[in-house]
């Protein structure tokens, strides 16, 4: 240790250490990510937690304490006051019931379809498999809109009769027009594709030998399905159920459109309404509740997946899955599947287009058809294609989508780089886990957090409220868990020696990224890019609290029209959004011959 006294040694060590860190990009990129994530993810979480126990602006009189002081006012109000039933317990009950019931229905639909598509000789599989995923790309609230167009009556909600009532004269009951039943139905039709994708994934990795040996032992197809196939994919199904359930807890769109008009509240809509009228203390409590509920379900999922690993070692790469001939059931099942796909994928869009063309809503006669809401003018409001406000919102949506896609795809790759290169270190764990945190924050809660957090200037950042940047930040962080999953799995597939070989030949970080890492992770990068773009364009719950007139986006604009009761405008914009997201998905699919949608299944498991 006498060495330490050698003159200049310490300075030399320091300089060499700095050189080493610089030569090790995973280290400093990781450090930067950690700081940025801490700022954008950890800090807001803390803000929410403390905010729920501090007197918020404007509540000093009601809470009986000064602004900023600690208080139990909000928690008491929501948990134990006479108002607790309306403010918390009813929405909580509704949320749980809706999530549970819709998850079961979505699972049955998704798993059934997956079985038919993977394990049977159903005809036209290719075409059907494209259509099956349409509802997943289409925003859930557009399906909700379509529902009211179909089953609306003249008594509740917007008070316009839907197709069924107009054509049959039968006044559809209120429970079918608004409230829990339609919410559940719409959510199930929207999210079944999720369990479908997970099940398809699980089914196609089953080693066909496992089933064939049962067949050799004389088991019938039924027995094979029940005793072999089902148990093997059971963990995947459990995982799909839990994640579908978690998705339902924070789901905002369908409940907003089909619940709010009849005062049927879930937690997400309660949170929205509290935040929209500036009652942030209560919004914080509800946010925390949503986050905790989501976190618990996600934790349950990791438990399930942990057990699932033991299964995947049993299953090999089975090659092509074993196909069961359907025999005389082939045609009836085809008709059933086609009918289902028609209802789930085609009907909502047709209904939206139809209603957007009605001059007077609910009048289904041909003479009522008009392009006024598209290119004309109604009650001083211009048609959406000629309205500068819509054009600016469309421009905002596109810019937002592209910026978020670029930002998240790049961040995802960087996260992957750090996590894979620093594997096993606390830095890698910290970055990976922080990047996952937004997964448990429902979009609406996220909006509430960022709204208060970035309403005032913090540190070097000016107040971002009223700029597009707050949307970009919120949406990017919201997408981060998916993007970093994609990034990590893309980087995992690149053997470290491929980068080391380039390092050995003197390629710097830039060259390695440009010539080795990016070309090799192109597919994952692109998939992440498209998924981020689509999700951002169609998102409602995240942006609804953050937009201002100058930063309006298409989805929020649609919601504004809905709240104004201007349904045809809302319908028309919805159709535009659907065209954009479907166009983007299929465009990329066609151009790259890859299927970005597979990523939906991958990134969530």
């Amino acid at each position: 240790m006498a060495d330490t006294f050698t003159p200049g040694l310490r300075a030399r060590r320091l300089a060499n250490r700095a050189r080493q860190v610089r030569a090790n990009p995973a280290l400093w990129i990781g450090a930067i990510l950690l700081v940025v994530f801490g700022y954008l993810i950890a800090a807001p979480m803390l803000e929410i937690a403390t905010g729920s126990a501090r007197v918020q602006d404007g509540d000093a009189r009601r809470a009986g304490a000064d602004i900023g002081t600690w208080t139990a006012y909000y928690w008491h109000r929501l948990v134990a006051s006479p108002l607790a039933e309306t403010l918390l317990y009813t929405p909580l009950r509704n949320t749980l019931v809706i999530s549970a019931v819709y998850s079961v229905i979505a699972m049955v639909m998704g798993v059934g379809l997956a079985f038919l598509m993977v394990k049977t000789d159903l005809p036209f599989k290719r075409a059907i498999s494209v259509a099956i995923l349409v509802p997943y790309i289409v925003p859930s609230w557009t399906v909700a809109l379509a529902w009211t167009t179909l089953f609306g009556n003249d008594r509740v909600g917007i008070g316009a009769p839907g197709v069924v009532m107009s054509l049959t004269g039968w006044t559809t009951p209120d429970w079918l027009a608004y409230g829990p039943v339609p919410i559940i139905a719409v959510m199930a039709f929207n999210y079944y594709a999720f369990s479908y994708l997970l099940t398809v994934g699980a089914l196609s990795t089953i080693d066909r030998g496992l089933e064939e040996s049962a067949q050799l032992h004389g088991a019938s197809e039924r027995t094979i399905a029940r005793r072999i196939t089902l148990p093997l994919i059971l963990p995947a199904l459990g995982s799909a159920f839990v994640l579908t359930f978690a998705e339902g807890i924070g789901s905002f769109g369908p409940a907003a459109i089909l619940g709010i008009p009849v005062r049927y509240d879930v937690l997400a809509t309660s949170l929205y309404q509290s935040a929209a009228i500036g009652r942030f203390g209560e919004a914080y409590v509800l946010t925390l509740l949503l986050i905790v509920m989501a976190a618990v379900t996600i934790y349950a999922n990791t438990l399930l997946i942990g057990r699932r690993r033991s299964f995947t070692t049993l299953t090999g790469k089975g090659g092509s899955a074993r196909v069961i001939p359907l025999g005389r059931w082939r045609m009836p099942l085809l008709v059933l599947v086609l009918a289902f796909v028609g209802i789930a994928a085609v009907l909502p869009i047709v209904l939206l287009i139809w209603q957007s063309l009605q001059l007077r809503i609910g009048d289904y006669s041909l003479s009522n058809l008009s392009l006024a809401y598209w290119i004309g003018e109604v009650d001083g409001l211009r048609g959406i294609l000629v309205d500068p406000r819509v054009q600016s919102a469309a421009w905002n949506s596109l810019r937002l989508g592209l910026m978020v896609a670029v930002l998240t795809a790049l961040t995802g790759i960087l996260v992957g780089y750090v996590v894979v290169n620093r594997r096993g270190t606390w830095l890698a764990r910290g970055v990976e886990q922080l990047a996952f945190v937004p997964y448990v924050i429902p979009g609406i809660a996220f909006g509430a957090i960022y709204l208060t957090m970035f309403a005032q200037p913090i540190g070097p950042l000016p107040s971002l409220y009223g700029t597009l940047w707050i949307l970009v930040l919120a949406a990017s962080v919201n997408r981060l868990p998916f993007a970093s999953r994609t990034g990590v799995s893309a980087m995992m597939q690149i053997s470290p020696s491929l980068e080391e070989a380039a390092t050995l030949h003197g390629a710097g970080l830039g060259t390695r990224m440009r010539r080795i890492l990016l070309p090799l992770s192109k597919k994952g990068f692109l998939a992440g890019f498209v998924l981020s773009f689509i999700s951002t364009i169609k998102d409602l719950s995240l942006v609804i609290l953050l937009v201002t007139p100058s930063t309006n986006v298409l989805t929020a604009l649609t919601f504004g029209y809905i709240e104004l009761g201007r349904r045809q405008f809302a319908d028309a914009i919805s159709v535009v959004i659907v065209i954009i997201v479907l166009g983007a998905t299929w465009g990329v699919q066609w151009a790259t011959r890859t299927d970005p949608l597979q990523g939906f299944g991958d990134t969530r498991t």
Binding site: D3, L9, R12, R13, N16, R17, R19, Q20, A23, S495, S497, L498, E500, A501, A502, T503, L504, H505, G506, A507, T511, R515, I516, P519, L520
Partner: protein
Amino acid sequence: MSRILLEGVTKRFGDHLAVDALDMEIPSGAFFSLLGPSGCGKTTLMRLIAGFETLDAGRIVIGDRVVADARNLTHIPPAQRGLGMVFQSYALWPHMSVRDNVLFGLRTRKVAKADQTARLHDTLETVQLGDLGDRFPSELSGGQQQRVALARELITDPAVLMLDEPLSNLDAQLRQDMRLELRRLHARTGRSFVYVTHDQLEALSLSSLIMVMRAGKMEQIGAPDDIYADPQSLFVAEFLGHGKLNTFPNGPGVPLPLPGTARDRDVYLAIRPEDLEIADRADDWTRPAQVTAKLPMGSVQVLALSFPGDRTATLEAPRHTQLPDAGTEVLVRFSPRRLMAFDPATGQRLAFTGPRDRHLKSV
């Protein structure tokens, strides 16, 4: 000058000591093999020399230049150490053609275009891949991929070429061809080769110098013949050799009249299967045994022997030798020139006087 000098080189991964205070020198121009079982630290040692890992203690000198020194944290980046490295997986970039893979190093070094073309041509000829420049790695066989990986390193003419188990992904026939190829390349380039392998046959057949590693420490270093004939520890004796080493305590059943220092203490005896002989008549070094099985194994044949006291051993002989059949009682001779004695506690070689005891000096 491209000798490599390691002084007190140490590397830890958490609690695991991967390389433990290692001192050694690799002479310039050597074909040097790092031999050891998986997990012994040989790949880590190679990566330390290449600069992909940082030292926890000690220093590394290549030529006259200190490339790594834990004391003042010197760490010259891999690219500036004048090394080439062939990875176990070859690490060929799958999105680049053979040409782009091989030219990568020249391009990052900004070598002139004309020079690039000439060197590409020469190098591809050297590894016998003349006209495959436009192929992609996925379109090549394992052996061809191996050659591309070699070409990619050779083209920059590194002073030291490191090879990390380069033959382990090839089938037996190809492995043999590539061994000859590597010998040829080593002779032709005159560069130092540092070769990591767990295959003793590869190490013995290729190297001019072998270091046997065990648990991060040097077990023995020397020329292939010396290491094989004169192992300094039971570990080295057992690790090298293709039949299972016969080992037994010098106790009941086969007590042998050991000379010198080994006589009056407990020792562990070992003899290679090919060093056991069937004797015609009894002497001090023969013991009776029964043949329990006779196994023809192609180029050699193996006898399974059973001695009194439940001791077993195997004897190996060339295939044309006349050997007794199973069930026969035979006399087995333990040639004192071939017999090795080890300390039962430490596994270290013990000396006893005999014609082959050159190692005595060092003990």
